[in-house]
């Protein structure tokens, strides 16, 4: 007796020793209504009326289906390196929150924080300029400097407004909204860095607006306009500009980015210890879980992924907008 090579219900490919389908447990399907020697062989065509019933199937049924074998799909080390984008973003958020708490409780002088922020910004700019392939022409550099000058002036001008606009809301409301915005930012941020970190094609999305929202909410709790200016400016640097530098570093020196992530995580963990043991443990636990445990979970789950491909899939074509 002849049998189908594939289960007609879910496309599982039978081996020689199988007696039933591994997935749906139905018995191996037999071929019925085989054509006689002198009958025309059934073809997969519609333009001719064939001497078979309309519901006839033969051994070629589902042969066009391709099922991907996912048992050896993912590499653990590769997955760990892919978590670096998410860890970097979480570190950016933690740096921002630490800076906020430091300013709120006057732990460090405002001038010191301002100088540090400006230094980090310029350092990032220098690294970016050194790493990009295209040399910058003088007129575009001057144009960028002019744009930055205008932006900084506007920010300084609106800093008093930003400080007072949400002042009437209670602290609880502000912190609740901030928490929600941070979670929204982390969830909706595009971690596919190749598509977002090109200056020419970058567009703001909802995660960027969310970062602006929580930075302006927190700014309303601060003591003076300079601190507000620092917070808003720092949010732009950390949540928008750093991704371009990060892409260049990751493209050219991926190990350096990994080292930066590790050192930054350890440094931030130690800093958080000064504020709260619980927060520090939570942060370090989260980083460890995302970096080392989640990839293992994904590898375990991946073997159950059912990828079915066939002539119904849309081919990959270049798109025009």
């Amino acid at each position: 007796m002849e049998y189908f090579k594939y289960c007609p219900w879910d496309g599982y490919r039978f081996s020689e020793t199988d007696v039933q389908c591994f997935i749906c447990k139905r018995p191996k399907y037999t071929l019925n209504n085989q054509p006689q020697e002198n009958e025309k062989k059934w073809e997969k065509i519609l333009y001719e009326k064939q001497p078979y019933d309309d519901n006839y199937i033969d051994e070629t049924f589902l042969q066009s289906v391709v099922k991907q074998d996912n048992s050896n799909g993912l590499d653990y080390k590769q997955l760990i390196s892919k978590t670096s984008d998410l860890i970097f973003t979480i570190n950016s958020v933690v740096i921002y929150m630490l800076t906020y708490f430091v300013m709120l409780h006057n732990i460090l002088e405002t001038n010191y924080i301002l100088i540090t922020t400006i230094s980090i910004t310029f350092t990032g700019l220098i690294i970016y300029t050194m790493l990009i392939d295209k040399p910058q022409e003088w007129h575009s550099v001057l144009s960028n400097v002019k744009n930055v000058g205008i932006y900084v002036s506007i920010l300084l001008l609106f800093a008093p407004v930003m400080q007072t606009v949400n002042q009437t809301y209670s602290d609880d409301t502000i912190y609740l909204l901030t928490s929600g915005s941070i979670i929204y930012y982390l969830l909706t941020k595009n971690y596919d860095y190749e598509s977002v970190a090109e200056l020419e094609t970058w567009k703001a999305d909802s995660s960027n607006w969310s970062s602006l929202l929580f930075s302006s909410l927190l700014a309303s709790r601060l003591n003076n306009e300079i601190e507000v200016f620092i917070m808003i400016g720092l949010s732009q640097v950390l949540f928008i500009l750093t991704q371009f530098v990060k892409k260049q570093i990751k493209d050219k020196h991926p190990r350096i980015l990994s080292m930066i992530n590790i050192l930054l995580s350890i440094y931030l963990g130690l800093q958080l210890l000064f504020f709260s043991y619980f927060l520090a443990l939570l942060y370090l636990g989260l980083v460890f879980f995302i970096t080392f445990v989640s990839p293992l979970q994904l590898i375990w789950l991946y073997q159950y992924k059912n990828t079915i491909q066939g002539p119904w899939d849309l081919p990959d074509v270049k798109q025009y907008d």
Binding site: I45, L46, K49, N55, I57, W312
Partner: protein
Amino acid sequence: MHIFQLGLCLMERGHKVIIITHKYDDRVGVRYMTNGLKVYYTPFMPIHDQVVLFTYVGSLPLLRQILIREQIHVVHSHAATSFFAGELLLHAKSLGYKTVFTDHSLFAFNDAASFHVNKILKFILSEVDHAISVSHISKENLSMRASLNPRNISVIPNAVDCSRFKPDPSKRYPMNTINIVVISRLTFRKGVDLLIDVVPAICKKFPQVYFILGGDGPKRGPLEDMIRQHELQDRVEMLGSVPSHKVRDVLVRGHIFLNTSLTEAFCIAIVEAASCGLFVVSTNVGGVLEVLPKNMVNFAKPDPLDIIEKLSIAIPIARNVPSHQYHEQVAKMYSWHGVAERAEHVYKKILNTPNPSLLQRVKHSYSNGPVFGIYIIILLLIEWVLIGIFDIIQPAAKINKAFRVKDDYKNNKDKFGDHQFRLNDLNK
């Protein structure tokens, strides 16, 4: 068009056919179309893109009344994305009618939209007696998506009314050019991005080629940008949206029909083009490979270079295409009468099968998964109770049955006296 043509042909074969659909603008109530085809425009408003919200029990009272009043035996629904059709199938099954579903599209398995559509389709089709697909690829796709027994799926292709798509080589203009016609919705799925690469290359390679592009959609802008960029305003004609009754007039202007779809279950456009005597160049996706014989079509991979190569083979022979011979061939291959005959065969087969009991339906429903399955069982039980209540409030015996016009006059006109009189005779 499929439902309309199939309905008319089934009526010609002596069956009673009614169509149930939703509201269209102000059109609500009962309408009679060609040959007395009755259409119920039920007062359910489409929310988006001609799709009615799935209410499950909202449509039950009205649909029950219609099915009992019209003394229906088989309920035949179309299209996977029509929630109204799915709802009607479920109600028809609960009311004890036989159900048939025709699928017209192909869906993938690996994207978010497909997960949801396939899950809902599996739910709806777990209740159907027989399914029909329009191509063999569509049958494979449907059996995997809805986990149906492939022996319960018949392949009955679409057809074309060839009397409306007759060739006319004298209508080809501009003259002295090889005209390539493209009529489709200008969307990603129809491969307009491939067209944007193909058109300038072909225009450059063949100075005698003229493109006629019909249709509208979101990709119209990039297409117009391409024409402007390559200065092809005198080589490419954009017609915009073409009404369905004018499609033939556009097709007969061409020598070649180009189809760049990225996925098609059947592709009726190429059959219409072949019926109008055009040579077809098409992408070899989905069920397109099964539709036309090799003498009428060149298949290309969905890649601009391959399409250009296949068009380059077709263009030199375009003027010598035997248009009328193509038309006659297509008329023999695809006809709505043939489709009606095959559909009738399906209906007769399922009318002899027993109806599943409520317990069997509950077991089928549970196969949809541990969570969704329980949800479906609850819906089934609610519907069973509601039908019981309706049977008490409005028993089937008390619902007036619709009058059926008999075919006696059509079959024997002489028996009904002199039917040659004219109004003028009355005044004499």
